[in-house]
Structure formats: structure tokens, C-alpha cells
């Protein structure tokens, strides 16, 4: 064995056995540093004859690169071991809870109003609004309820002491119907609108609150009749409840602002103690529920709104938004809608990403 062989065996063994990065670095300096033994041997090449160099050159270069490779390999092994040792100390108990971020929610009334807007947009209805503090002309007179009309008294109206500059008594609107008048006056005909919003009646028990939400629908055009009204309500309810088996029962009724007036019942079925809309109300295990008031807009109302009733006719309907929300999403106490109870909002509220769309179905499944 030559000296070089001896040196190499010795170096590689020591490198292989270097216990840590520091010892390995010391070996690198010892062998390959500026004063290192292999570096020293490399320097002897310059003094050699070309013949010697031709022999010794490759040998020494081989020694240097093999040593360097061994150091790199050993370094990788040591680093890896060190990393593993460090990681072993870094393990976390991932059964511990993660950081919480608050979950917000959209109120069922808003959600349902968005759903209604989506459905009716497809039928060509835009969304109209009007003031909640109304005057008695828009809330009553223009809707064919003259001051002495008995139906006025049936509205449990909240009044303000104020009158406006036309001498009209100010009040909280008792229904969204005044928006019909305002929209017709502003837009003329033909018109298709829904008008959702807050309405007020002086009434309070488990199913009545002094403030609630209604949505009004209005279609004024030529040749619109009760058949269109029925279709519209059927189509809307089928889309809203996402059921094809919605059955309507129309009953004659009376509203001063429509003639003929039609009360609309919807068939329901008892499913585990809950009233679920769908099916014929006369079928066994079924019943009828009064859901909407509607009718053909009274010619006088069309006249009050500045249109010619000989030319224009149409229908209007009204339905409780809170009621629709309760029927669809299963709440049973109206008062809770207006309490702001964190627990109720967490339970019945909707994800902000439940934006109603026609392609996904407007409803948000539980």
C-alpha cells in the first residue's frame, strides 16, 4: 500500500466516523483547507517533472475529490440526522383546537327576500320600494279605502300625530300595497314589480308582531286575467319551495283594492308534526293553508294611480315574507325573528355564500 492509499483510507474512515458537523469541518480543514494535508500534496505537483505529474496528478486529484465527496456525503447524513432529531422535538398535539374565527350569518328574512328577487327577476319583475312612514292617501285612499271604509279600521294602523303638506295623516304603512300606487304613478304601464319590505300593524301575539315583512306583486298590462295570477303564484311557489306538487286553491274574498279578490290557499301535508307544503289539500293527511291575498287590481286603484282602467288591467298579490321563511326553513316563532338572539342567528342564519341562484336552486339546504 502506498502512502497515498494509506492517506486515503485513513481520511475516508475518519470522515465516515466524524460524529458531528464541527468534527467534520475540522477534518475538512485538516485535509482540504489551505494548510491541509491533501492541499499540501497538491502543491507538490508544481515541483514535479511533467512525467511525475502525469502519474501523480490524477492520483492526487482523485484523492482530493473523493475526500470532498465523502465530506459532502457525511455532511448530508449528519444534517439529516440533526433535522430528524430537531423535528422529533417539534411535534404538536393536533387534537388541540385550532384558532377560531367568527362565523357570520345572513338573516332568514334577507335570504328569503333575495330568493324572491331571484325568482321574480326570471319572470321579468323588478324590485320596487317605498317609504315605510306613509300618508293615509297612499296607504288607504288610493287603494280604494276611503276614510269611512270599514276595512280601514281592520288594519290596526299605527298613526303619527303629523300631517303632511297636503293635509294627509302620516302613519306606518300597514301593507306594501302603497308601493303599487307609487310605482304605477312613477313608471306607468306596463309594469311588473315586487315590493318587499317592512310593514306594521298594532298587533302582538305568537304569530303576530307589530312589525313584519311583506312582499307585494303587481302586474299591469293589457289582457292580464285571473289565469295569469294563478300561474304566477303557482310558478313562484314551485320555484320557491322547489317542489312540483304545489297545489293552489283559490277562494273568493274581499280586498278593497282588488276586484275580483282571491284568497289563495296552498295544500300541505303533515310530515312528522311539521306542515310541509305540497300535495292536494283535500287528500288524506293533507290540509289547506291560507297563504296569499290577491286579485285583479280594482279599476279605481288604476285610476288613482293615473292610468286608464279601460286600457290597463292586471293583478296584485301580497304574502308574508316571514311566513314564507318559516314555512320553508322551519322556524315556528315569529317573535324570535326580531330578537337578535346570537344562538337563533347561528342556527337559522345563512352562510354569506348561500347567494340564491337559479342554477343552484334558490333555496339553501340545511
Amino acid at each position: 500500500m502506498t502512502d497515498l492509499d494509506q492517506l486515503k483510507t485513513d481520511a475516508l474512515t475518519r470522515i465516515e466516523n466524524a460524529p458531528d458537523a464541527a468534527a467534520l469541518e475540522a477534518l475538512r480543514i485538516e485535509f482540504l483547507g489551505k494548510q491541509g494535508s491533501i492541499s499540501g500534496l497538491m502543491k507538490t505537483l508544481g515541483k514535479m517533472t511533467p512525467e511525475e505529474r502525469q502519474v501523480q496528478g490524477p492520483l492526487l486529484n482523485g484523492l482530493r475529490s473523493e475526500t470532498a465527496d465523502a465530506i459532502a456525503a457525511r455532511k448530508a447524513v449528519l444534517e439529516n440526522a440533526e433535522l430528524e432529531a430537531r423535528l422529533a422535538t417539534e411535534s404538536l398535539d393536533l387534537t388541540l383546537p385550532a384558532h377560531e374565527s367568527p362565523k357570520g350569518s345572513v338573516h332568514p328574512v334577507s335570504q328569503v327576500m333575495d330568493e324572491l328577487a331571484e325568482i321574480f327577476a326570471d319572470l321579468g319583475f323588478s324590485v320596487a320600494t317605498g317609504p315605510e312612514i306613509e300618508d293615509d292617501w297612499h296607504n288607504f285612499t288610493a287603494l280604494n279605502m276611503a276614510e269611512t271604509h270599514p276595512a280601514r279600521a281592520m288594519h290596526d294602523t299605527f298613526y303619527f300625530p303629523d300631517v303632511d303638506s297636503d293635509g294627509r295623516r302620516m302613519l306606518l304603512r300597514t301593507h306594501t300595497s302603497p308601493v303599487q300606487i307609487r310605482s304605477m304613478v312613477k313608471q306607468g304601464a306596463p309594469i311588473r314589480i315586487i315590493a318587499p319590505g317592512r310593514v306594521y300593524r298594532s298587533d302582538s301575539d305568537a304569530t303576530h308582531t307589530p312589525m313584519f315583512h311583506q312582499v307585494e306583486g303587481l302586474v299591469i298590462d293589457k289582457d292580464i286575467h285571473l289565469g295569469h295570477l294563478k300561474w304566477t303564484l303557482e310558478t313562484f311557489l314551485k320555484a320557491f319551495f322547489e317542489r312540483d306538487d304545489i297545489v293552489l286553491r283559490l277562494r273568493p274574498s274581499y280586498f278593497p283594492f282588488t276586484e275580483p279578490s282571491v284568497e289563495v290557499d296552498v295544500g300541505w301535508q303533515d310530515v312528522k308534526g311539521r306542515r310541509v307544503l305540497g300535495g292536494d289539500g283535500d287528500a288524506p293527511g293533507h290540509g289547506w293553508m291560507e297563504l296569499l291575498g290577491s286579485g285583479m287590481v280594482n279599476a279605481r286603484v288604476i285610476e288613482f294611480a293615473g292610468l286608464d282602467p279601460e286600457e290597463w288591467q292586471g293583478f296584485a298579490f301580497g304574502v308574508g315574507v316571514d311566513r314564507l321563511a318559516m314555512l320553508k326553513y322551519g322556524m315556528d316563532d315569529l317573535r324570535a325573528f326580531f330578537d337578535g338572539d346570537q344562538r337563533w342567528l347561528d342556527h337559522y342564519g345563512f352562510s354569506p355564500f348561500d347567494q340564491p341562484t337559479l342554477s343552484a336552486g334558490v333555496g339553501a339546504k340545511a
Binding site: 345572513v106 317609504p131 303638506s165 295569469h228 300561474w231 274574498s253 274581499y254 346570537q342 354569506p352
Partner: protein, 796 residues
């Protein structure tokens, strides 16, 4: 309105059962709200005969009866009624039966040691009347063993909601007529026998107020006996209708009203003096009505009065003083026609409701005065006897019949159903309309609700059947449905979902507040305050969304919630032009309680601070489309806020888009909630609309060269707003500096008194070429110089 089947059949010849009648009523617009079958309540009660009656061994007032029930062995029953005796027939309640009057279930029991197997019942116990002096005594021919429901011919009672346009159906006769038109049987008109009377009416009848009382008919009946009860058949019908029998005279008028929808009044002639006149009341005149309350009248109200007193608030309620009593022997009957509007106004002014008012203000049949008076007279004579005089008539009820030119094609044009013209004619005819060959339709005078052709369509359609209406699709615009939402609607939708996505819960709170709470947030605005609130807590329309949310947060805290993050999008109510309202769309946020709960990693729970409010304000303003980069943070958030921890966000010095911050401790005290509580209010109507925005964004290509940051630590006066410093720094080189961000604020050791250290990280964005050292130096110098103008010096 309630009526029994048996009463209905008096006017309607029909074989239809209860269910069919109910269905027909619903079909033609008289909504059935309930059907009560007294047979259900009388289950377990049967006709029984008392065989023996012996004294109870241990009780003086009790007897021990043996009673034949028609089957099996006679039963032993203990009874306390003084009239119980052997041989009589009565009504026995068997064990298991429930006493209608008190809901008690009968049981086999021992009374003072003697077994009793049921109860002999009184009239009152079975709710057949008021009598309770003894048990019911049935006639000898009553069949023992028959169920009492059958024996008594108990008749199902319908409870029907009559819509306000149909006063003609506020009597059983009208309902029968409608049902007959709907094919449920044959209408049986009551044959009215003319009641001529003897001698002229001795009382002068007059109307001095032909506007309020166009017609006033009257007659006297002498020698009546009002001590007898009204006949059993009448009492039964009245009770079924929910009307307590009172006396023969009163019952007769009630019967006329409920059977024919025709109110009338009976005066005790002895209490009247001089002519009886319909006239306007005098201002301040008073009358004690039959409900024993005294009403002050004014000269818009019609009354019936004699020389001395007002005896009747016309069409609403009679006077206590001149009403019929048991001692009454001579009576004056009044049947009049009052102006419906006047009755309504008077009733509302007095706050007085009555069955008579309900009918008069909706309109009674103007052609039914003579017949009504004849029927009433005959009802009284049958029970009370007496001799009627001739009728005295003052004035005339409006008799001009309404004639409507009807086009039968309107039925399909408006009603959407094709009904053959013959059928239309027949339907209108069955409802007493007279249809001429040329379709001029003459309306029966009792149908005040018929105003025009649309009303006739309704008559035809409801009798023909609304269920024949078939759905017809609305014409649809071509192509995909067009967007319909207005900019405000889109803004609100986006804002709502942005707020929810930020972890806020949407609440819907009352629009009205307790006045004190509203005042606290009014900032001098004149509130809208209700005249007739449902409670003091719901009186004033909100001038801010914060109080409602604050009250909700308090309720949540009281329920033990660790924190509330509530928002609401709704209106604030202010005064607008011309006495109208100005309702401003607004978003409110309240952050109360804990922001984070204590955690293994986070440590103690943490409350909200004003910067949390600022974060919501900025993020939501951005979602609402406000130019948040241009907003100025200014003061004057309002007295409701902590003066040092609140601010407004403005676009220009005057346009306040939002306010936010910590609420003032006084506000928290007013609402009795523990603080600190943060609030935000965004005034959506102040956010300028985006003009002419299309879909395409402004052109942008990410810069090729890397940006670099430089940190500057400044010593600034302690009261310098960091925002002003940052603005100065940013403004130092508007082209190169794209961002300036405070990353440290420090006061205390090492910082001179009256100063604070603010460290700002400045981001520089090179354009075409990288910055040279000299350029960076120049920018840095400009930053220091610009900050220097705010009193800032670079820290050494």
C-alpha cells in the same frame, strides 16, 4: 258570524251535509272558520227516567235516585236538585261524559257514602241556558234511552267570516240565498204577512237629519208581556249564534238582526215623551248607552231623541234609560236607515263597536224596512201578545236601483274563465240581479258592494267556481331574463354578504324604540313618534341602527353569550320635504363582549377595541363601493361615542360616510350593558354612486422590477395623528412611494417627554430602471423633509 244548520235550513231547502255546506261556503267566499257540533259536547248524556227517589241517609239536601237509562239495570244516582222526584224524565250524564259548562269528567263515585253512577243535569250544566234551580225536566213522551243530542235535535254550528263588503250575508237569510245560487239547494224566502195594525201610531216619528237618517219607521205595540221568555226555538238559534237570551223583546230584535241582517230597536213607550226624532246630537250632549257607559256626543252624530233625552246613538247602540225591561208593557219599535259613512265615523269617534254598527256601516238592505218591521212585530206578538198600531213612516230609504252596463265577455277577459252567457245570466238572476236582454244589469238594493262590471265578474266567477280558473303563463320576454336590481339593492346585497363573511351576524330589530333611547341617538333631529304605540318600548322611529343592536347585544349578554357581533341593514327615519319622511338606508354594527374567548394558545379572552370597529367600517365601506383610499379620518362621531376613541370617515370635510368607535360610557349606562362596546354606522345614502363603470378594469401590468422597502423611525409630537405623518410620507414622492405603513408606535423610555416614536415602512416601486443609491438617498431625504413639516425628526 255563527249560525246553526237547523237555522240555515229554515231558509234553505237542502239535503247537503255539513261538510258539503262548509265546502260550498268556502268556495263562494264565506270562509268557514270553524264548525262546532254540539252532539260532540253532549256525548254521554241521555234521556232517563227517575224510578224512585229516596232521602240520602247522611245528607238532608241530597236524594238517592234509581234511574232507568233504557238499557240494563236501573242506575243509582245521588242528586241534590230539589225538583228530582220519582216519575220525572230528565237528562243523565253517564260516567265518562264531560260536563259542557265546566269541563268536568263524570265518574262513578261515592257521595257521602252512597254510590252514584252519574249526574242528573241542569240547563246551565249543559250550556242550554242560564237556569240552574233544578235538573232539566223533559216532557213525558221523551223516549228513555235516546241520546240527549238526538232528542234535543242539537244542530251543528258554522262559524263563518263574512267579508266587510257583504253586509247582506250578516244574516242567515243572505247566506242561504248565496248557497242556493251556488247550487246547494233551494232558497226559501220568508213569507211576510202584512201587519196592518189598529189605529195610528200615537207617537210622532220624524227625521230632522235626512242626511244621516233618510228613513225612520216606527209603530207602537200596546199591552206586551215581557216577562215570558222568548220561545225555545228562538233561544236555541240565538244561543247557537253566541247570543245570550235576554228577554222576549230584546231576543226578537236580535233574532231579526241575525236572521235577516237587520238591526232594529225597541223603546219602552212609558219612558218617552213627545215626538221621537232622528236628529243631529248637540255638542256636549251625553247619553248612557246599554253597555252602561256614558258617551259625549257632537253635532256630526245622528241620534234618536224625544223631548227630553237622547235615547239611541243612531244605528250603534240604544240608551240604557229607555230600553225594554220586565215591567215594559207598551213599546215603540224603530226601524230606520242610517247613512253608512256617518255610522262609521260616529262609531270610530266614540270607540264604540256593536253588531248594529257593523251592519249599518257596511250597509243594510234599504228595501227591507217595512218587511223587517212586520217580521219584528209578528215575532213580538207571538210571544208577548199586545196590539200593534199602524206604521208611522218618516222619510225614505235610498231606492234608486243601480244599473250596470255589463259585457259578458269581461268574465273571460278579467276572470280568465269562459262561462256561457246563459249561465252568467242564470247566476246573476239567482242572486236577484235583473239582467235585461241588452245586458243592462239592475242590482238588488242590498248589494252595496256592486259598483261596476268587475264586481259582476266576481259574482259570476265565484258562483261558477274559482277552481275553474286555469293557469295561463305570463308572456315572457325573449332570451335570458334581464337584470332587475337597482344600484342600491345591489349595494345592500353585497354589503350584507360581505358583513356576514367577516363574521358578523345579521339581525333584524324593531324600527321603533323607547323614546328615551331614540332621543339619545337623535342628535337634535325631530323624531317620528307614534300616536298609538303598542307599548312605550315601541314608540319612536329609530334615528340610528345602533340602539336596536345594542339592546340585542345586551339581551345576548344577559343570556350568557361571550360576545356579540351584530349588524343590520335598514332604514333610519328622519323628516323629509313637505311633511314626508326621509328614510335613510344604513348599516349598523355593534361589537360587544369578548372578541376572542380565552384559549390554550391565545391566553386570556380579549375585548373589542376601536380599531376593530375601524376595521369593519373600512372593509364594509369598501364592499359598499366607497373610495376608501380617499377617506379622511375626522372627529365628531357624536355624543353617543367615547370622545377620544371614535371618529368619522369622510369624503371631503362635510360628507360623512361613516362613524365608528367605542361607545360612550353614558350610552352604555343608558342601555345597562357592560363595556367596552364598539359600534359602526355606515350612511349608505352618502356614498357617491359609481359613474359609468363598465366591466373592464383599468389597464394594469405588474411591474417587472422588484419593489423595495425602507424603514424610517420618527420622533413626533405626541399629539400628532399618525395618519397625518403617513400622508406626509406618502406625499413626499407620489411616483416612487406606493405604500407607507406604520409598523411601530412607542412612547416611554428613550423617547423624550411630549414625543412619541412612530416607525414607518415605505415601499418604493421602481419603474423602468432600478433605483440607484443616489436616487434612494434623494427619496429618503424628501421623506424626512416632508415628515419634518409635520414636526417629525428622524430618530438617530
Amino acid at each position: 258570524m255563527k249560525f246553526s244548520l237547523e237555522w240555515l235550513k229554515y231558509f234553505l231547502d237542502t239535503d247537503a251535509g255539513v261538510a258539503d255546506i262548509a265546502a260550498a261556503l268556502n268556495r263562494i267566499g264565506h270562509e268557514v272558520e270553524g264548525i262546532e257540533d254540539p252532539a260532540d259536547r253532549l256525548a254521554g248524556f241521555r234521556v232517563a227516567k227517575v224510578l224512585t227517589a229516596d232521602k240520602h241517609p247522611d245528607a238532608d239536601k241530597l236524594q238517592v235516585l234509581t234511574v232507568d237509562t233504557g238499557e240494563g239495570d236501573p242506575l243509582q244516582v245521588v242528586c241534590g236538585a230539589p225538583n228530582a222526584r220519582a216519575g220525572m224524565k230528565g237528562v243523565l250524564g253517564l260516567p265518562g261524559a264531560v260536563v259542557p259548562a265546566n269541563g268536568m269528567e263524570l265518574r262513578k263515585s261515592a257521595i257521602r257514602g252512597v254510590e252514584s253512577n252519574g249526574m242528573m243535569c241542569s240547563v246551565r250544566e249543559l250550556e242550554l241556558g242560564e237556569e240552574h234551580d233544578g235538573i232539566i225536566e223533559l216532557p213525558e213522551d221523551a223516549p228513555v234511552g235516546q241520546t240527549f243530542a238526538d232528542y234535543h235535535d242539537a244542530s251543528p254550528v258554522f262559524d263563518v267570516a263574512i267579508t266587510p263588503n257583504r253586509p247582506d250575508c250578516m244574516g242567515v237569510q243572505g247566506i242561504a240565498r248565496d248557497l242556493a245560487a251556488a247550487g246547494l239547494g233551494t232558497f226559501k224566502p220568508v213569507e211576510v204577512t202584512a201587519m196592518e195594525g189598529e189605529g195610528a201610531c200615537p207617537v210622532e216619528i220624524r227625521t230632522d237629519d235626512p242626511e244621516g237618517c233618510p228613513a225612520f219607521y216606527g209603530r207602537v205595540i200596546r199591552g206586551v208581556d215581557n216577562n215570558k221568555p222568548s220561545p225555545e226555538w228562538m233561544q236555541r238559534r240565538l244561543i247557537a249564534a253566541g247570543q245570550r237570551p235576554i228577554s222576549a223583546l230584546v231576543d226578537a230584535t236580535n233574532y231579526l238582526m241575525l236572521a235577516f241582517g237587520r238591526p232594529a230597536h225597541v223603546y219602552d213607550l212609558a219612558k218617552l215623551s213627545g215626538p221621537v226624532v232622528a236628529r243631529r246630537a248637540k255638542n256636549g250632549e251625553r247619553v248612557e248607552a246599554l253597555n252602561e257607559k256614558t258617551y259625549a256626543l257632537d253635532d256630526t252624530m245622528t241620534v234618536i231623541a224625544d223631548d227630553n233625552d237622547v235615547h239611541d246613538i243612531a244605528g250603534i247602540m240604544g240608551g240604557e234609560h229607555s230600553g225594554a225591561t220586565e215591567a215594559t208593557t207598551d213599546v215603540l219599535l224603530e226601524i230606520a236607515y242610517f247613512d253608512p259613512e256617518r255610522i262609521g265615523v260616529t262609531g270610530r269617534k266614540l270607540g264604540l263597536a256593536s253588531d248594529a254598527r257593523t251592519r249599518f256601516e257596511r250597509g243594510v238592505d234599504p228595501a227591507f224596512l217595512d218587511d223587517g218591521l212586520a217580521i219584528l212585530t209578528s215575532l213580538i206578538l207571538k210571544t208577548c201578545g199586545g196590539t200593534p198600531t199602524k206604521v208611522a213612516r218618516a222619510g225614505e230609504a235610498p231606492a234608486e236601483p243601480k244599473v250596470i252596463a255589463f259585457d259578458p265577455h269581461l268574465t273571460s277577459h278579467l276572470g280568465g274563465i269562459d262561462v256561457a252567457q246563459d249561465e252568467q245570466r242564470a247566476i246573476l238572476g239567482s242572486l236577484d240581479f235583473v239582467v235585461a236582454d241588452d245586458w243592462q244589469v239592475t242590482c238588488p238594493p242590498r248589494r252595496h258592494d256592486i259598483e261596476g262590471p268587475a264586481d259582476l265578474v266576481e259574482e259570476v266567477v265565484r258562483i261558477h267556481g274559482l277552481d275553474h280558473v286555469t293557469s295561463v303563463a305570463l308572456p315572457r320576454a325573449e332570451g335570458v331574463a334581464k337584470p332587475t336590481a337597482s344600484p342600491l339593492q345591489k349595494q345592500e346585497r353585497k354589503l350584507r354578504r360581505a358583513a356576514a363573511a367577516r363574521g358578523l351576524n345579521e339581525a333584524v330589530t324593531w324600527s321603533f324604540l323607547p323614546t328615551a333611547d331614540a332621543e339619545h341617538f337623535a342628535d337634535g333631529a325631530e323624531l317620528w313618534v307614534l300616536d298609538n304605540p303598542i307599548s312605550e318600548d315601541m314608540k319612536a322611529m329609530r334615528p340610528s341602527l345602533i340602539p336596536g343592536l345594542l339592546a340585542a347585544a345586551k339581551r345576548n349578554a344577559d343570556r350568557g353569550a361571550y360576545g356579540s357581533r351584530l349588524f343590520e341593514i335598514g332604514r333610519r327615519y328622519f323628516r323629509g320635504k313637505g311633511g314626508a319622511s326621509d328614510e335613510k338606508p344604513t348599516l349598523g354594527v355593534v361589537l360587544a363582549g369578548n372578541k376572542t374567548s380565552r384559549g390554550w394558545a391565545e391566553g386570556k379572552s380579549e375585548g373589542f377595541d376601536a380599531y376593530d370597529a375601524k376595521a369593519e367600517a373600512m372593509a364594509l365601506l369598501e364592499a359598499a363601493g366607497a373610495p376608501v383610499g380617499n377617506l379622511m379620518v375626522m372627529g365628531e362621531a357624536g355624543d353617543q361615542f367615547h370622545p377620544g376613541q371614535s371618529a368619522t370617515l369622510r369624503l371631503g370635510p362635510k360628507n360623512v360616510l361613516a362613524r365608528f368607535g367605542a361607545l360612550h360610557p353614558k350610552t352604555l349606562k343608558t342601555f345597562d350593558i357592560d363595556g367596552p362596546v364598539m359600534a359602526v354606522e355606515i350612511f349608505l345614502d352618502s356614498i357617491p354612486a359609481k359613474k359609468g363603470a363598465g366591466f373592464a378594469r383599468a389597464h394594469y401590468a405588474p411591474p417587472a422590477l422588484q419593489s423595495l422597502t425602507r424603514d424610517f423611525a420618527f420622533l413626533v409630537p405626541a399629539d400628532l395623528a399618525a395618519g397625518d405623518l403617513v400622508k406626509a410620507v406618502r406625499g413626499a414622492d407620489k411616483k416612487a412611494i406606493v405604500e407607507a405603513r406604520v409598523f411601530d408606535v412607542f412612547e416611554g423610555q428613550g423617547v423624550p417627554e411630549g414625543k412619541k416614536s412612530v416607525a414607518v415602512e415605505v415601499t418604493l416601486q421602481p419603474g423602468e430602471k432600478s433605483f440607484t443609491d443616489a436616487e434612494i438617498k434623494a427619496i429618503s431625504d424628501k421623506v424626512v423633509a416632508s415628515a419634518g413639516k409635520q414636526g417629525a425628526e428622524l430618530r438617530g
